[in-house]
Symmetry: C2
Subunit: 418 residues, 2 copies
């Protein structure tokens, strides 16, 4: 895979990511589907850590997702983990729509990996991305566990990020440091998505690690909120994978005091930094959207509620007509009006204000008197754009991010698989 050239929106280079005390990463070439590249990633998380996860809401979730959900639910019910965790992730095969055989494959991998790493199989969390409907060759993964274990290192983030890529054109990583009670705490994450060359799915995977000490329920709350404002606030084509997975581990090996509540002062400080890292990763996913040449922020304000604002923002961000206009560098604000109208959220045409960056396009349901199309057309030539819509109704606000829809997206996805 990786046939595509690097996205024009890709960052210049992979960021320098710090190691996280209590987390060791490794990658290996298991040959699940791809040849001559790493396709397996492990993150070994030290005893005493807590974990949290959020997953696709698809009704046709893949076997590894259901396994993770079941294990996290059991952990939540029977108390925090004692014996460390293992995240084990393969690319090349999503183990989705594989029936009972898929469930058995997950079980076999978790058993064998647990034994190999000395970790309770109930603490082994897997994710798979790649072709769907084909049996996962579990033995290729278990055969590579020795190599994987031998390669564990605190500094393997870039290789790990590369190993989980499918049709991504660049590896994705982000990090932040935040002071909790004056003590530095580190957050580091990697992600993949949302390349979708047939027959891969639009799978978005992210794995985030911190050396902060955080109680599991607070960690889950913060992950859910941060996901809402990052990975669940982006769209490439509105399609949802059967495998989307975000896992977060907190090792507690930093000197900072333990965080027991997401709403405490320390909790809020950590959550803000976590959201920043996850948003950075989410933006990278959009910038690697298939065929993308433009990155656009859609900021909606003045809605009757936050939910209404989000509905309008996604209606704009997912509209093929808006997205093709971005590709064409066309300040076609009529399509914004259309998308607001179709969103299903409350809107009053005669209160609508639309801005492209600093260019006031329309207000009170009409083109602005100061509007000159040449200004808007010049703005649309930028690689990163902001479209701001104020509904003039209330205080609800939401921001989402999207990319343009190009002929290359169609070429990539209409390309026959074989």
């Amino acid at each position: 895979m990786n046939r595509a050239p690097r996205s024009p929106l890709a960052p210049a280079r992979f960021p320098d990511l710090p190691g996280i005390a209590g987390v060791r990463l490794a990658s290996a070439a298991a040959g699940v589907r791809y040849r001559d590249r790493a396709d397996l990633m492990a993150a070994e998380i030290a005893p005493g850590s807590t974990v949290a996860g959020v997953f696709t809401r698809s009704a046709t979730r893949a076997a590894p997702v259901i396994d993770c959900e079941t294990k996290l639910a059991a952990l939540a019910r029977f108390g925090p983990a004692e014996g460390g965790f293992l995240f084990l992730v393969n690319s090349g095969n999503a183990n989705a729509f594989t029936g009972a055989a898929g469930v058995a494959a997950v079980r076999a991998i978790c058993q064998t990996a647990g034994a190999a790493f000395g970790i309770d199989p109930g603490h082994v969390l897997t994710a798979s991305t790649g072709v769907i409907g084909e049996p996962l060759p579990a033995s290729r993964i278990t055969d590579a566990l020795g190599t994987l274990r031998a390669g564990l290192s605190e500094s393997g983030a870039q290789q790990a990020a590369a190993a989980i890529m499918t049709t991504d054109t660049f590896a994705k990583g982000a990090a932040a440091e935040v002071a909790i009670d004056g003590q530095p705490v580190r957050i580091m994450g990697i992600a993949k998505g949302s390349g979708m060359i047939a027959p891969d799915m639009a799978t978005m995977l992210a794995f985030v690690f911190t050396d902060a000490a955080i109680a599991a329920p607070a960690l889950q709350t913060m992950l859910r909120t941060a996901t809402r404002d990052s990975f669940n606030a982006i769209t490439v084509d509105g399609d949802t994978s059967t495998s989307d997975t975000v896992l977060l581990a907190a090792t507690g090996q930093a000197a900072a005091p333990r965080i027991d509540s997401a709403r405490s002062r320390h909790g809020r400080a950590f959550a803000a930094a976590l959201t920043g890292v996850m948003r950075d990763l989410a933006h990278q996913v959009v910038k690697d959207g298939e065929g993308a040449t433009k990155f656009a922020e859609i900021a909606v304000t003045g809605a009757s509620s936050a939910a209404a604002a989000r509905k309008v923002a996604f209606a704009i961000a997912n509209s093929p007509l808006v997205k093709t206009a971005l590709a064409g560098e066309d300040p076609n604000w009529g399509r914004i009006v259309m998308a607001v109208g179709k969103s299903g959220a409350r809107a009053d045409r005669d209160r609508l204000t639309i801005r492209f960056g600093d260019v006031l396009v329309a207000e009170k349901g009409q083109v602005a008197e100061t509007y000159r199309e040449a200004d808007a057309a010049a703005y649309m030539k930028r690689q990163e754009l902001q479209i701001a819509v104020d509904l003039g109704l209330g205080r609800g606000a939401a921001t989402v991010w999207t990319c343009d829809l190009t002929t290359r997206y169609v070429d990539i996805n209409a390309d026959y698989r074989s």
Copy 2:
């Protein structure tokens, strides 16, 4: 406009449409925006007729839509019409997002047209399609009313269908005859959509006429149901126009008995024929979808309810990944699984059955044992396709129609307007 070549899915020729007693049609070149082509259409409907309408649910509806809604609401409240009706439709300018000036333009046109045709302005129903956000040059329309009136004829359907085109690549018409109590009743309709070359919107307009005698409330009920199963069961790109309008007039000039209820035997017979005509028109709209090379029926059965089936069917029909696979003639059933999963409707992966035409692809959550990809790949080469999904949960069923997503769609819509 009309720069695009005729759609490869277009019918061989415009159908022979019968005249409808009590309906006279005319078209004229008013020069609203286009040069050297008709862009104005009138349908004069004889006294004693009843009318019904359904409109876009967009929150940013255009001025003519709001005017029609207001007038039909008043008619429903104060009793059936006495003095005939006029449908007056222009292409080239949608009179949408035009504020108070847009409202004034509709009022002026209705007043002048009412006077010119001797029809109560409250019975003049207008529709506009084309560029949005630009003032409608109302005087160009009113200046053409004399020509229009002079051209009225029972047999002007093809010219009328051509006059309302924007980026359509062929004119759309359909007709049927049905016996009510042994007496023949005719139904004839024209439509336009859903060409969307910037800056036009995805406007879908349809005007349907019958010589049956039908009480206004029954007519409205039948139109609403028929729209659900025709124009509201199609999608090109999921985008919704600010101007979508379907108007239906019943002149009562056939010899058949009057229909007072949609649920009576005669009502059901008429409604079935009406749905057939409107579905034919709706299919033509899909076949003229921008860049379309494939027409696909998505038939969902076994859902927990009809609403759930519809949700699943539209999730498939609107999925860019499914639509690009159709374009690539790729039997990528994994994308069907994905779309079912993301629909939000109840689904059980392990009960899912998927068929491409006669080819059983998957059942019980796995690839079917008999499945050979060569069979499915051969099927996908057809121009008209059926994708059938059975959820195995209940008796809910729904069928919708869509087209493929091609690079040409993007080219057309990313093309800068000027």
